[in-house]
Assembly symmetry: C2
């Protein structure tokens, strides 16, 4: 039977979920889910700032709410600190209640984001020319800016041609202007003083999902998040397929590049619509993504990434006017891509390493980004070493008979009580199951190993499960749900071949981790950080159970959410963090695993699952 | 009777003329006209380099030519040092005979042009990536450049996004590239090594005429010159009319800007066609022109130039990617406009001052650019002071009853022998006269003053001319040619009103010059340099006769040709000269004449023509 999903609260528009805990109010649940809600009074029902709109059964309004809310109560608003949802449901967090700096899921890496903005706004008053001051329009603007910016101004600043052209018209409307200055040396925006402050956009361009974070560059506040499927997916699930298209089709690169650029434009427009803002006010865009996404987005021929020695066209941070890359943001906005480390260790890993502070970690810590390629960084004593394993898509549900992405209908967690007739499935969206996503797959295999139904070799044993192992088209298979309980009217099964795919993937990752440990002389891991959406939904104990990484106590394994996205926002809001990311990428070592003797050996050794008493 | 123009030699394609001197060969005539012809042997008939193609009667080939020319003689080629044209005619100077650095008319300011190019080309070999050298494509390019450029390279250079995009494709064709580097820090061109060297374009954007000079940036050689009428002329003869259009019509500025930009594109294409080159190889463009032409070309709202305090939008050198200004040159070419000094002292004056070395002149020297506005610089003891007089267009033939530009049919010089029945007219193109251009007008007035037909007050006297002064529609008028001798079938006359226009213009110029002298404490001029095409055709003695400037011996008055064009080419070929121009513009003082008390006083005093014995 599918376990109902309504024992969770889902916070929107972030889409973050929290399991209901008896006695916890919505503010506490939000905090546990990494959703930042303003609560200056500390959740005492005094300030009235933590307004949310619950959708579902709620506890009765408290005296504090009655005193503070009055008419607002009519609109369905509640104070998060005074309200609980005993049966779960959805909660809309209006923009004005969101706390700007902590709303991104950063479990384990939270804290204030540092502000050292590339772009800063100044309000200036430019006097008209007179016989006493017959200075040029540009000269008067620069003088006004020098007064306003003081030491923050390189002398003289650059004024892009298009802004110079707009200057006489702006001055004719009056001399009060809002001016945005980038890195103390280039004016990137000039508007009448009434037009708002500069915005920034951080984008995590994933192979599968693209996420955009819209921030107020002045306060650092996160205004909106928007995400959608990478529109390149129909052209190929993984980066290899997409790079092949670029190499084989004359217009392939242009096509895929345009798709990604349009996607970012669309996300920018959507995030701005949420925040009631104009995309033309976005004056800085920071992007991260793997090397293939980086090259394809920038329309850089990715052929060299696809063959040894996998050399990128460019590695160091790419800075280009956003419009040159096709982005429809502010006319003079810049796009900054964080640097790549290598062909298969991209800006997303650099950003994740930045988010977890890998350059500052002492105890041996493995940062693992699980995707089609299992990219990882081992950090210890301030040193960092990275590698990428061609783990394949099994851990994302790819190449699995009934695998699927983490979408409604996907089994995300499996519970198998000793002696149970069939497993209990937790399905995304609470719907009947139609497939297994990565975390469900790991959960299922973990349960089967625990129950002895699956043997350490990867073969099916005979004990337990009461006949749930049967002979199928491709050898033995385990029936996770019968057709009558599924959403597609077929039995949901895990085949021997599926198990082999998972074995190959986890062996690659574990062997990669052990190569890094060997190269750095590390014997035991103190911590494993699982990055990316999948890493976040993976149960640490189950991941350990299938032997995904070298053994360590389960309490030292933790999800760190979308660390790449957090790193991107950090770098969006701070030039210091950009420089730090660049240094981090330079200082990070890299091990190429293809043709690496030790890797081959460890890979074979890692195929088996750990035995129960391991 | 029109004096035949065939006692001159006209060198093409430069269009420079020289009066035939007995015994002078074509090489000597070319030198006197400022036309540079290669002659490494010094004109001894030994090297065979000074090939030209005379069109008209020539002297017989010499023994030296017979020895050197052989088959070439068949094509009509001669050695300039061995050939004369006793009756004048045209001489085509083929590109291979032109000496690159002296072909522009720079009388009095000649000399080698300094080479210190903004853009320099390097040949580089970029190795493929290998397991031993898995560096990025960009990294390998930079390493190869560092080897080739040595100290000339800022580390690291900038590689524009579009060139970065082209890099993988170029490297796939082989690693031998030609790379052009600007100011040691930005790569502005990448091509296969077989593609030629970088070209540069210097443009003098005059109110009436636009001239473009195409140079080989490597050698400094002038490859071609192309000029045409400013296509803005139909929208207004002078800058005031054009600025008014920009202010009054919503699309006026865009229209005029586009016309000028298209004109430069057309000249670039034409010059390249002459030289057999591709406009895409032009990697640097340097422009000069007056402040109104500057603003309109760059589509900068010129309204502030047209009213007190006549403040430009921007003054300092404007550097912008040529494509952003609408120019169809190299994809990453830069456009550099020399700085303006003030609203009515533009980049053309700065360039002319550069060409004559005004920052280095000791004896009081007046540099005078005669056009609609008489702009002038007084230089003495290393100091410079500029002003602009609203002289009006009379000295260009404007606002004159039968005035015209210096085109075929225009009277350019007048000879009136004592007691002659009618004046002898020298007409451009040797055609029947149809009007008076500026130099013809000054020449005519000078003759009439000399003959006593015109009085110092500007009124017509009764002596001489035998009835050529008559009563016309607008008072007394002088008949310069009867209808039967003109090209338009009407009498060619100079009216009292025409004389008044010239008086107003010359009084403004002279008063401006005297204000500058007064401000700088200069009592006598040592030298007057007449810049611009008009200044060059003006006869110094005649200009002095009408009192155009304070008195000085006629031998110290000289035309300096298109000094603005020379300054533009100097700055195109040398970054040092650009910096010098910028410093010169900063160091130059400026006197605003509008509302200047002394100017008003001197202006009135200067209305009369000097009496014969002055």
């Amino acid at each position: 039977m599918a376990r109902a999903a309504d024992e969770q609260v889902i916070f929107q528009p972030m889409g973050r979920r929290a399991e209901i805990q008896p006695g916890q109010n919505l503010l506490q649940l939000a905090q546990s889910a990494g959703v930042g809600i303003e609560a200056p009074c500390g959740g005492k029902g005094l300030c009235g700032k933590c307004l949310v709109r619950p959708e579902g059964p709620v506890t009765q309004p408290t005296a504090a709410e009655k005193a503070l809310l009055d008419a607002e109560a009519d609109k369905g608003l509640r104070l998060a600190c005074q309200c609980a949802m005993p049966q779960g449901g959805a909660v809309w967090v209006p923009p004005e209640s969101r706390s700007g700096r902590q709303v991104i899921l950063t479990s384990g890496t939270s804290g204030e984001l540092e502000l050292d903005q590339a772009v800063r706004a100044y309000q200036v008053r430019v006097p008209p020319a007179s016989l006493e001051n017959p200075e040029t329009a540009q000269g008067r603007l620069f003088s006004a800016l020098a007064q306003a910016a003081g030491d923050g101004l390189a002398a003289p600043p650059e004024l892009p041609f298009n802004l110079l052209r707009s200057l006489p018209g702006l001055l004719a409307q009056g001399g009060d202007l809002s001016l945005s200055l980038r890195q103390g040396r280039e004016i990137v925006d000039l508007t009448p003083a009434s037009q708002g402050l500069p915005l920034g956009l951080a984008v995590d361009l994933g192979t599968t999902t693209v996420v955009a974070y819209l921030c107020d560059l002045d306060s650092g506040e996160l205004l909106a998040v928007s995400s959608e499927m990478n529109p390149q997916v129909p052209y190929g699930d993984d980066v290899i397929a997409r790079m092949s298209l670029c190499v084989s089709e004359p217009q392939g690169l242009a096509l895929l590049s345009r798709a990604a650029v349009e996607c970012v434009n669309h996300l920018a427009a959507d995030a701005c619509a949420q925040a009631g803002a104009d995309p033309g006010r976005i004056l800085e865009c920071l992007m991260v993504g793997n090397s293939a996404m980086h090259h394809i987005f920038l329309a850089l021929e990715p052929a060299s990434l696809a063959m040894a020695p996998y050399a990128p066209v460019v590695r160091g941070p790419v800075e280009v006017k956003a419009r040159q890359a096709g982005l429809a943001l502010g006319r003079e906005a810049w796009l900054h891509w964080l640097p790549l480390k290598a062909g298969f260790v991209g800006a997303d890993i650099v950003a994740a390493a930045l988010a977890v502070g890998a350059d500052n970690i002492d105890e041996p810590t493995l940062l693992l980004d699980l995707g089609t390629n299992g990219e990882m960084v081992l950090a210890a004593g301030g040193r960092m070493l990275a590698c990428s394993t061609a783990a394949g898509p099994a851990l994302e549900g790819g190449h699995i008979g009934q695998g699927m992405r983490g979408a409604p209908g996907a089994v995300e967690r499996v519970f198998l009580e000793p002696g149970a007739v069939e497993p209990d499935l937790q399905v995304i969206g609470g719907e009947p199951a139609v497939g297994l996503c990565g975390s469900g797959l790991v959960s299922l295999i973990s349960c089967l190993l625990e129950a002895g139904i699956l043997l350490p070799t990867g073969g099916f044993g005979q004990q337990g499960g009461k006949g749930l192992v049967r002979s199928g088209e491709h050898g033995l298979e385990f029936v996770a749900a019968l057709a009558k309980h599924t959403g597609h009217g077929r039995d949901l099964v895990l085949t021997s071949r599926d198990v082999s795919e998972v074995q190959l993937a986890k062996a690659a990752i574990r062997a990669g981790a052990e190569v890094l440990m060997s190269e750095m002389g590390v014997e035991h891991l103190s911590r494993v950080l699982l990055a990316g959406a999948f890493g976040n939904y993976l149960d640490p104990a189950e991941a350990a159970r299938i032997g995904l990484f070298p053994p360590l106590p389960v309490e030292y394994i933790q999800g760190v959410g979308n660390a790449a996205g957090v790193g991107a926002v950090m770098a969006l809001l701070s030039d210091r963090q950009r420089r730090r990311a660049q240094k981090l990428a330079q200082d990070m070592g890299y091990v190429e695993l293809s043709g690496h003797g030790l890797f081959q050996e460890l890979f074979v050794d890692s195929m088996a699952f750990p035995s129960e008493d391991a």
